[in-house]
Structure formats: structure tokens, C-alpha cells
Point group: D3
Chain length 133, copies 6
């Protein structure tokens, strides 16, 4: 149970409703998920976080599906239950197949493994890998 | 300085050399990076980890560049210096541009942010996000 | 369900009861929360951890409420469900408002974000930031 | 060495210079630290992250020094070298004493300890700690 | 609820059944736990991860019980509920007592504490601790 | 460079010297490592953390070497450079061989891998794994 109450659309202020409308329009849905309903207890935070998510998930040098896969990898690494379920749903809506999910998890798992081997053994960075600019 | 000595090609056993040859062939390089030279102190571990990396990074439902981007996102989340430098180099060799790097970092940053908001507020998972199988 | 049974007051040894009494006196409550009941399976650990918590949460250069807010920030970062609920309750008892909770979460979220940007881009520490002593 | 070049003020675009000017004005300094110089490779990210930091670190229900202490606690938990140095400097500029730093670290350390005891033993949340709304 | 369906023995392919048989033989059990049933959606991943676990958990310079204790310490540190329950069960089957569990958790807790003090204060590594090889 | 100055023995207060003497006696050394010299800026914290470490690392149901191995596993998981070097040195002094170090790292790596697969796929805990008490 969330630490703060869920702000439902009908009970929301005009300011919050306007952000909810933006979210639903951007996602082509007619409902708001719990994450935003909790953030809505502080409308400025709702605005700030929604602007962040919208900005970084928009198509750019990477397509939206690739961005969702990266989101899943980070969420699995951090053990975030909510984010894992919500971004898996989001990725499926953008075309993620079971085979793609399996490969995201496999890369995430092996990266977590080699991160600890590199950090644990204190492996020195090869000069060749240093950026040149 | 690594916890164990670097096993150089010339000083390596036949078994280790064979794995080094595989790594160089797969990566089309004529040198071995420090990560493998440290693991080579235990040839079975060298074999096991190389098999893992080769298997999950091979092209499949996701292309190798996408996999490198996921690797960078996980390594940045875990604060692995070695992995960040080595996989950024690997991703650039596969075509990652500065714009793509910036977007990987942006998605990683925002995912780390919303992971903590979801976990911190203990947001309940929406029923709609639950998998149906 | 916890890995070890909950040691209730009535079933506790004299040694454990004495620590339970200290905890209830310090917190002005007449009950013991599950965290301590699990630790009580090893009375020396119960003593050690309670002494730690009591020592660092006592008023000092920082007031107890500020310390609870820091505790919440760390618990949200680590994804600790138990600690998030218990220290949010503790902070509310010390005067934390919804607005304060929202700001703790916002700072925690943004710190997690910039931690990954700094670590991910491997930003060099500015000389000016180095301590001078 | 950072993954991307540092964008110095003199070499920056008009857009980036305007943000640098905002940062220096807000912080009453005449220099820009490396974190922003790296982000400036992507001016939209520079804008986004600066807006985030400015928004959540502004005085509100919590004072700016308390927010810096929370930032230090999160950065120490995540092992972010850059953020630890930069926010310790920021907190000292706002009045943090050695005694306050010691208490932030002590609370952070004990919170990390009890987070693992709670998560490790899988302690059930007491009903009393559940939010009531 | 897992993101992918559980592949039960009776519904599994010949390839998956063969791996299930290996797992049950190695563990002297007549059932398969959910972790493997989820991985079985991608038989190559099932094979890869099982080979990893079998290889590193086999007796060697360390005995299997010590390895289970290390597994518990890592899982508690990462907040992995599934792994904590499954490896605690595995360790008990290999002889772990309540006193041993308590000491694993105590060391894990204190290590998490001093990790943050060392990282937070940015303590310089003593020359004496550097490896000599 | 540490955030606070190193308190050397000759410049230490009587209170701090007494604790330094305890540490050297317990470890049969004639020097103090930097970790304690930094903590000594707050003598009560020095006392508290030393008491914690001494208590949990003492022989009990687990021998001191096994405890050092667990400490290394946690430190590698958290990416703590100082702790990795210091506890590897401590473990070697207690008899850790290269083969044992390799196995600690291998188990740590695979545990970090399966922790993410379990958390990422949200695998349900098997009823059989639930504790019975």
C-alpha cells in the first residue's frame, strides 16, 4: 500500500487533471497508472517527473522500444517490482517479443556478473579503452 | 592494481591461449584486455565467463549494438568503471554515436530516478500491468 | 514470512526482555516491532544492532527528524520495504508532513539520477571540490 | 577521464552559455563544474538535469542544507565519488560542520546495515506501520 | 506473478526435460523450482544459467555450504526475495544452523555498513593493502 | 583523498589511542589502517564501528576466514574499493589461497546474475522454500 493516497482523476485539481490528460494523450490510453496518482500528491513533482519521462523516452537517436528495453534492464538491476511490470507492459505494447525479453534479461544478468568480477578483482582499465577527445 | 597478476599471452598455458585466440577471433583484434588476463588465473572461470559473454552478446532477437547499450546502462547503474569504459569502446566500434550515448545515459538516469520513487513510495502494481498467460 | 520465528515478549529470555524494555522506553511505546523480534533469535545481535540504532539516531549535531529523513532516503535507494514503512512511520511521529516526505523522495530520486550520470560518464572530480586539510 | 569532452564556456553555444549563466547565478560562483560541462554535449540534457536539480534543491518544506545532507547519504550509499565530493563541498558552503558530516555518515551506515537485515531476514511489515489514508 | 509462464515438466520439450533431469539428479529432488521453470521459456538460457550455477557451486577450494552462505550474503545485499528463500533452504539442507545464519547476516550487515563508510568518506587505500605480484 | 583528515596515533587523544591499541592488539599489527584514522575524527563512531567489526568477525558458528570471504563477496557486490583491498589482505593473512579467492568471486558473480534474473522475471517463491516454524 502506497505511502500516500492515490489521487483519482475525478478528485484531482485542474492542474493535476491537465497533466493526467497529457499522459493519457501521449500514451493513447484512457486511464492513469498508480505511479502518477501517487506523485500527484505534489503536483510540481508530478509535472517534473512526467516531463523527465516524456523527454527521455521520446524517439531520438534511439527508438522508443530500445529505450523501454534499457528501462527494463535498469529496473531488473535495481529490483524495482513496479517498474519491471509497468515497463514490460510498455515494451510489449511497442512490439517486444518473449525472445527479446529473454535477451534483455540475459544481457542484464551477465552484465551484473561481469560488473562484480571487474569491481571485485579491481581490474585496471586498458589504455586502449580510454576515450580520446 | 588487480588482486591477481595479469596472465600475458606468451606466459599462458595452452588451454588459456586457446581461449585468448577465440576471444581475439570473435572480436577481430590482436590483443586481449585486462579483464580476461585476470580471469585467466583460473582457466575454468575464464572459459565459463567467456562462454557466457559470447552467448548473450551474439546477434539474436536483439542486434549486438542494442546489447552493448543495455550493458552500458547496467554498468552505469552499478558504478562499474572498467565495464563502462570497455563497453563504451565496444559500442562505439559497433556504431554508437555521441547522441546515442547521451540517450542511453538519459534513460538510465531517469529509470534510476523512477525506480526509487516507485520503491520509496511503495506504489502498488496496477492490475492491468500484471502478465496474462 | 521471516526466516526465523518471531520472539514474543512473553516467550523471551530475561536478557531479551531487558532489551525489549529499553526499546519500548526509548520509543515510548508498549509494543515491539517485528524487526527486533527476528533479531532476538540471537540476543547478542539484538543488543548490538539496538545499540547501533540508538546511538546514531540520538539527537546530536542533527535533530532526530532529520536523521529519520536520511534513513528514509537510504531505504528508498536500497529498495527496503520494511525500513521504508517503519521509518516513514517513525518520521511522521516526529513531525514529518506530506510535503516533507515529497521533498525527501524528490531529492532521493534526483540524487540517484545524477549519481548514475556522474558514474556513467566517469566525470573527473574538480580540483576545487577536493577537501583541504 | 570523462567519456565525452568538457564543453568550456568560451567554446559553448549561446544556448549552453545561457544555462551556464543560470547555474553560476544560482550558485553565486564564477565557474562551472565538470558535471555540467559533460552534460553540455547534449544541451537538452543539460537543461533537463539542471532544471531537475534546481527544482528539488530549492528551499521548501526542507531547508537547502538538509537536502544536501540527504544527497550525501544517497551518494555514499551508491558509491558515487563525484557526487560525494561535490555535494560535501556544497553542504559545507551551506554550513555543514564535521560533526554533522559524521552523523550523516553514521546514519547512512546503520541504515545500510538494517536495510540488509530486514531484506535478508524477510521481516514482515507490522500492520501498525501500514499507512492509513 | 512471473513475467513468463512456468514450463512444467510434462509440457516441456525433450531438451528442457533433459536439463530438468540433470537439475533433479544433482540436487537429489523430484521437483523443479520456479526459477528454472521461468528460464525454460528460453532453453538456451536455461542451459547456460544451470551450467553456471552447477559449475560455481560444485565443491572445490571451498565447500558447498560455504558457497551457499556467500550466496545468501549477496542475495541479502541485493534484496532478492526469491534467492534469499531458495538459498536459505539450500544452505539448511547442507547443514546451516540458525547460529550460522545469524552470523552470515551479521557479517553482511556490518560489511554493508563499512562499505558505505569507506566509500562515503573516500578513504584512501593503504599501500600495505595493495597486492604484490 | 578522504573527506576528513587522518588522525595519526601520535596526534590522537587518549581515548582514540586506547581504541587504536585494541585494534592493533586484536590484529597483532603495529600500525593502524586509514579507515580507522578517518573514523577517529568522531571518537564515538570509532568506538561504535570497531565494536561492531570485532563482534561480528570473532570466531563463532563460522570461522574467521569464512567471515572474511563473506565480507569480500559483499564488498565486490557493492563496488567498495577500500574494503575489497583491505579484506582481501585480511583473508590472505588468515589463509585464503588464490583458488579460494577465485571461487568467492565466481559465486559472487553468479549470485549477482541470478539475483537479477529472479528479480527481473518476478519469479514467485515456491511454497517449499518458505520457512516452517
Amino acid at each position: 500500500m502506497a505511502l500516500l493516497p492515490l489521487i483519482e482523476y475525478d478528485a484531482a485539481s485542474v492542474e493535476v487533471r491537465a497533466i493526467y490528460d497529457e499522459i493519457m494523450a501521449a500514451r493513447k490510453t484512457d486511464w492513469i497508472n498508480n505511479f502518477w496518482k501517487v506523485l500527484a500528491n505534489d503536483p510540481r513533482e508530478l509535472r517534473r517527473v512526467w516531463d523527465d519521462v516524456r523527454a527521455v523516452m521520446a524517439p531520438g537517436a534511439l527508438d522508443p522500444l530500445t529505450k523501454e528495453l534499457i528501462y527494463i534492464a535498469v529496473s531488473a538491476t535495481n529490483g524495482c517490482e513496479y517498474c519491471t511490470y509497468s515497463h514490460t507492459a510498455g515494451a510489449r505494447a511497442k512490439g517486444m517479443t518473449d525472445a527479446m525479453l529473454s535477451e534483455v534479461m540475459a544481457v542484464t544478468a551477465v552484465a551484473n556478473q561481469t560488473n562484480r568480477l571487474s569491481n571485485g578483482y579491481r581490474v585496471d582499465v586498458d589504455e586502449t579503452f580510454r576515450p580520446r577527445w
